[in-house]
Amino acid sequence: MSEQATLERRYRRLLACYPRAFRRENEEEILAVLLACAQDGQQRPGLAASADLIKGAMRAWLRPAPGQPRNVRMAIRLMYAGVAAHLAALVTVVATTGSVRSAVARGYPGLAAAQNSVSVNLVIDYVGLSIGIIVWLVLTWALVRGRAWARIATAGYFVSMTLSMLISVGGGSAVYAPADLSVGAVVWLIALAACVLLFTRTSGRFYCPQPRAVTPWHGTFGRL
């Protein structure tokens, strides 16, 4: 029995990846099926079963809420694409740190100022991209739940992103590598498309339902 208890504990840890509402409804039942499918003496979840549970958890998180219009669903997918683009940029920056440093060291041997400036810029990149990922995730989380403020915040974020891009490109303070520019352009386009979709009429009804005549105060504060 202790083997099964160990296996159960490990499965529960994996099931913790699912949204709480899904777990409340299904956890005990999935666990029963997982344990019924287990082999005698098995103590660890199999690789395929674990991957399947993680995939299922991702699907459960990404699933659109009932009543979500198509425009909102597409905007939310774009927001996830934005998160992915930020992550890809962060991974690229981290992975190429060494080669950037050595290129600068070759180009400006003995010039400590150049190397310090590279270090500072890299830290700015790490922090900026990490903050970007957090902001996009929070906005997406709130947009999925139909929070009215999230739509305004997404538009505000898009405007500030546009302004900061214009200022840095216009000011010429930074020398942009083609890769930097293209990542920035992709993220900007994704944000633009998401904002356009979020401010269509059908999306508006999802975020700010019209008050009904019978209950004039209900619905003005967004969905439940």
Binding site: N26, E28, E29, L31, A32, L34, C37, D52, P66
Partner: protein, 112 residues
Amino acid sequence: MTARAMQEATYLILTALASGSQHGYGIIADVSEISGGRVQLRPGTLYTALDRLRTDGLIAVDREEIVGNRLRRYYMLTTEGERRLADEAARLHANAIAALRRLRPDLAAGLA
């Protein structure tokens, strides 16, 4: 509703429930049998699909039992689920006939 093709796992789960209510483990075994062992549903996939199908109103909980201290929930097709499964089966049938008619006209004549 747009007539989008149903995913195979969804189609097989609904087919498994077409002959009567079943619990999760039963559906896994039945889907394996229906597909000739080709599709082995895993619990994560199954319950994500069941949860979605319940939200969409294609299946419902028939009854719950406690077996050996564990919850066992039986699922059944709703009227809407029956209709969607029948529509999908007709669509697949028509597609299969269309393909066979071109590949093997002799066989297709007997199936249509």
